[in-house]
């Protein structure tokens, strides 16, 4: 396999996983905020 192909493949794969993780983190923070707000009601 060419080096540059492998670099691009890994970068794409990591970018895709990072995007999913960041999306999940935003959703998690949203629900944490809702839960903490309700606890203080």
């Amino acid at each position: 396999m060419k080096l540059e192909d492998e670099v691009v493949r890994r970068q794409r794969e990591r970018a895709r996983i990072m995007a999913w993780l960041l999306g999940g983190f935003v959703v998690l923070i949203f629900f944490i905020t809702i839960a903490k707000t309700r606890m203080n009601w």
Binding site: M1, L3, E6, V7, F31, A35
Partner: protein, 303 residues
């Protein structure tokens, strides 16, 4: 651009699978499970998302410990058959990436724990990560045969963190859970280190069988299993759990002591002849899972 053959994998961006392997996912199961049991045994239940986040943070903290441990011990891992294929000694990832990953994961897990639950739980999580990395990995492990005895405290934090994440304060039961794991760690690890001691000797790690000999280690395994069993049963007479837990803990601990006695009676120095040690090691993992599962079931049924 001319084609270049792939000769040095560490020069590439790390594969996500190797980053995942850095977190020692197989070790994480027990940490997550004991943390979850600490959380579920607490008298009040947090909202689901906060409980989930607390367990996620414990898992991420454990992952950070695994990554920083492998970063620090890459040269030692390369000398042991059991660990030579890990991403760092195998050259699939560079050390700086592993360090950044471990530190980032650790800081993230502590901050998220503080924001989602409370800062006492976050402080405990930070203390457990720092204890594992600095006290155990860097200081004790390469220097003393008592590394596992004191270092075992790092693995004992999760149920305490789970409880504090829910309640915001300490209580006798999670402190006993801490004591159980603390006392369980030496016989668990020494059983393993008996049949892989040549690996530890080759890597220059002063594990008890390497420094004090096989017979002495077998004696220590048996001696430690006695206070461990006492700590495991203690929540029952102290009125912190019901009879279901007390009877189960007595039976499970009794079997542990019998297996430890068989290890004590074994005279073989050949790893191939160490069936009692292998059996005790396997049972010790089952023991901790079963004990904590019974504890949660007892607390929920008795509630």
């Amino acid at each position: 651009m001319p084609a270049i053959e792939l000769t040095n994998p560490a020069a590439l961006p790390a594969d996500w699978r190797d980053l995942f392997a850095l977190t020692k996912p197989r070790v994480m199961y027990l940490v997550v499970f004991t943390g979850l049991c600490g959380l579920l045994a607490a008298p009040a239940m947090p909202p689901f998302v906060l409980g989930f986040t607390a367990i996620l943070c414990i898992a991420l903290g454990a992952g950070a410990c695994g990554a920083l441990n492998q970063w620090y011990e890459a040269d030692i891992d390369a000398k042991m058959r059991r660990t030579a294929k890990r991403p760092l000694p195998a050259g699939r990832i560079d050390r700086q990436s592993a360090l950044h990953f471990g530190v980032g994961l650790g800081v993230f897990s502590v901050l998220l724990m503080g924001l989602a639950t409370n800062w006492l739980a976050a402080a405990l999580l930070a203390a457990s990560i720092l204890f594992y990395v600095l006290i155990y990995t860097v200081w004790l492990k390469p220097r003393t045969a008592q590394n596992i005895v004191i270092g075992g405290a790092a693995g004992a934090f999760p149920p305490l963190i789970g409880w504090v994440a829910t309640t915001g304060h300490f209580a006798p039961l999670p402190l006993l859970l801490f004591a159980i794991i603390f006392l369980w760690t030496p016989p668990h690890f020494w059983a393993l280190s008996l049949f892989v001691r040549s690996d530890y000797a080759a890597a220059g790690i002063p594990m008890l069988p390497v420094v004090a000999g096989i017979e002495n280690t077998r004696r220590q395994i048996f001696l430690y299993s006695l206070p461990m069993a006492a700590a495991a049963v203690a929540p029952w007479p102290l009125g912190l759990t019901g009879m279901a837990y007390g009877v189960s803990a007595s039976v499970l601990s009794g079997v542990f002591i019998v297996l430890a006695a068989r290890v004590l009676a074994n005279r073989s120095t050949d790893p191939a002849q160490m069936a009692p040690e292998k059996k005790l090691f396997a049972y010790s993992v089952f023991y901790l899972f079963a004990l904590f599962a019974v504890l949660v079931a007892d607390r929920w049924l008795g509630a």
